[in-house]
């Protein structure tokens, strides 16, 4: 009986091979098994739809094919499908239109009732995300109860209008928090001397923070220094662990901001609400001096003149930058030579505004040179505004000059 004394894996009987292959949970390992030979493929063929789902689902979602209801159905098919659907829902809850918003006490109480109806170990927050609003004054107690009882599985939270004490207490109930978004004014700000005593909990997994302040318009008389004091305190507590920060340019005014965020890789600067914001020379100077090794930089909400200061700010990240989104205002006399090489840049989303009705020839030359600073670009989006910039010949030239690696090119002309 040679089967009793197998010397090679191919001597093993099918049942035993099947048992072994079932230990491999990674879909890539599964793919390697069925890809090895016909026999192994035949043994495992019946499990393909289950085991390959984890690799297929993200491809399906790339083309935005599945509505939330379908994602919920997928959770009910089998354990593996549930795991993979949940993974995608947690990756990007908002893209899949998953919303757990608690605007008032009533909704908080309903969610508590829902959570208490689940069997032991049930997760009341699919996607592990929650948005809480202070809403009416009575709602905080219910929100607090919800978080204290069920906050452990949460990974992302959005908080709107909370006082600092409430804020710290809510955070204390979410030990696994990864992404914190703060919207609106953290009100009841009455500390002059107490700021340093704010008891912020340890959140080991927190790496992503978004800070947006409402009421920053010129008429709102918001005391910027108080904000900055609070935000500076937040960044002092959590800055070292943050890799992603989303904020308005005002935060750049915090002293030693570069040191507070030593591990920052992704910075998204948006336009503060109600302000027509431009980046002044001091703003750009800060950006050109921080010591962050950014992979992603996104500056949205305004067109920045393509000056030497702006180029110096961008040059600061030339070694590491992979993904850049920025809108520039072209003037006739910009100097493309100030921009250095960006060897890692793969994705560029560029807004261009110009008063020029058509591009003068010598400027076209400089623009094409500009395209050459990112030799490894794979994706280029150009959005044109004002003037007769949608010069098709120019755009084709630009595309040709941005190396062959480019496989996505979109041009949106001005209307």
């Amino acid at each position: 009986m040679e089967h009793l004394n197998p010397t090679e894996i191919s001597d093993l009987p099918n049942e035993m091979l099947e048992e072994i292959f079932n230990f491999l949970h990674d879909p890539n390992d599964f793919l390697s098994v069925v890809g090895t030979c016909n026999r192994w493929n035949d043994i495992m063929a019946y499990r393909k739809t289950e085991r390959l789902f984890g690799k297929v689902l993200p491809i399906l979602l790339k083309s935005d094919l599945l509505p939330l209801r379908t994602m919920l159905t997928l959770r009910q098919i089998s354990k593996t499908w549930k795991k993979e659907a949940d993974f995608q829902l947690e990756e990007d809850p908002s893209k899949l239109e998953l919303k757990y918003g608690i605007p008032n006490a009533e909704q908080a109480n309903r969610l508590i009732a829902h959570a208490s109806n689940l069997p032991q170990g049930g997760n009341p927050f699919i996607g592990k995300c929650l948005s809480i609003y202070k809403g009416d004054p009575g709602s905080y107690d219910s929100i607090h109860q919800l978080i204290q009882q069920y906050g452990t599985p949460l990974r992302r939270i959005t908080m709107v209008y909370f006082s600092r004490i409430q804020f710290a207490s809510v955070l204390g109930g979410i030990p696994n928090l990864e992404k914190l978004s703060i919207f609106g004014l953290i009100d009841e700000w009455d500390i002059e001397d107490e700021a340093d005593a704010l008891p912020l909990p340890t959140l080991l997994r927190l790496n992503n923070m978004g800070i947006r302040i409402f009421g920053e318009g010129p008429g709102d008389q918001v005391d910027d220094d108080r904000y900055l004091r609070f935000h500076s305190f937040l960044l002092t507590a959590y800055g070292e662990q943050l890799t992603t920060l989303k904020c308005s340019k005002k935060l750049l005014r915090i002293g030693r901001i570069s040191d507070l965020l030593p591990n920052l890789r992704r910075l998204e600067l948006f336009k503060a609400h109600g302000l027509t914001e431009t980046y002044t020379q001091p703003d750009l100077q800060v950006i050109s001096q921080v010591e962050w090794r950014l992979h992603t930089l996104s500056i949205s909400g305004c067109y920045i003149p393509l000056t030497a200061e702006l180029m110096a700010a961008l040059n600061n990240f030339c070694v590491t930058l992979e993904d850049l989104e920025i809108s520039i205002e072209l003037e006739e006399n910009f100097d493309a030579d100030s921009l250095v090489n960006f060897p890692c840049l793969k994705k560029l989303k560029l807004g261009i505004s110009s008063e020029l009705r058509s591009i003068p020839l010598k400027m076209k030359d400089r623009l094409i040179k500009l395209a050459g600073v990112a030799p490894n670009l794979e994706e280029l989006d150009i959005n044109l505004r004002n003037g007769a910039m949608c010069d098709v010949v120019w755009s084709m030239e630009l595309m040709r000059n941005v190396v062959q690696k480019l496989n996505v090119f979109r041009l949106l002309p001005s209307l």
Binding site: G35, K48, T49, I77, S78, P124, I126, V408
Partner: protein
């Protein structure tokens, strides 16, 4: 005619024209890389695809051959309005091509088309799987994909209850 040898994970070699192979974004890059690193410009490139087995690779090549005169659709390329080419009608040939396939094979084809960057094939296979999922009940999906529930105890009920909040809110 310049040829290229494409070898599957289980060792089968397919000899195809470079012109055809280059309709796959991945093979195109591989052929160009080979040409740059090779001294002999006449040498025949050999490309190993370690993640795709022969049966699937044959299907991809068969699909490419049928569509060799279609306009090339660059990977990930979207139209200006952001819509892909999913609207482009599926040919009768494509329908007949996919009809006899088990969904397990279709899933392998999705992975292969994605890896080899064959946009047209990726679109029709994704659309097929999507049509077996969207708007279907749990039982219909399990039947189509030949899956059995492996939930234990009250896990299935628990999942249904978890979903309820999203359905009702």
């Amino acid at each position: 005619m310049a040829l290229v040898r494409v070898i599957s994970s289980d060792g089968a070699a397919f000899l195809v024209s470079q012109r055809l192979a280059k309709r796959s974004g991945k093979l195109k890059t591989e052929i160009e890389t080979f040409r740059k690193s090779s001294d002999n410009s006449e040498a025949q490139p050999e490309i190993r695809i370690v993640t795709i087995r022969a049966e699937i690779l044959r299907l991809v090549l068969q699909w490419l051959q049928q569509h060799q005169n279609d306009p090339v659709l660059p990977a990930n390329q979207n139209e200006q309005d952001g819509r892909g080419d999913a609207e482009m009608g599926q040919s009768q040939w494509d329908r007949d091509f996919l009809a006899p396939m088990d969904l397990g094979i279709v899933m392998e084809l999705i992975l292969a088309a994605n890896h080899l960057e064959v946009k047209g094939l990726l679109d029709i296979t994704c659309k097929l799987v999507e049509s077996k999922i969207t708007g279907r009940t749990v039982d219909e999906i399990r039947t189509a994909f030949k899956l059995k529930s492996d939930f234990k105890g009250n896990e299935e009920e628990q999942t249904r209850l978890e979903n309820r909040w999203c359905v009702e809110n």
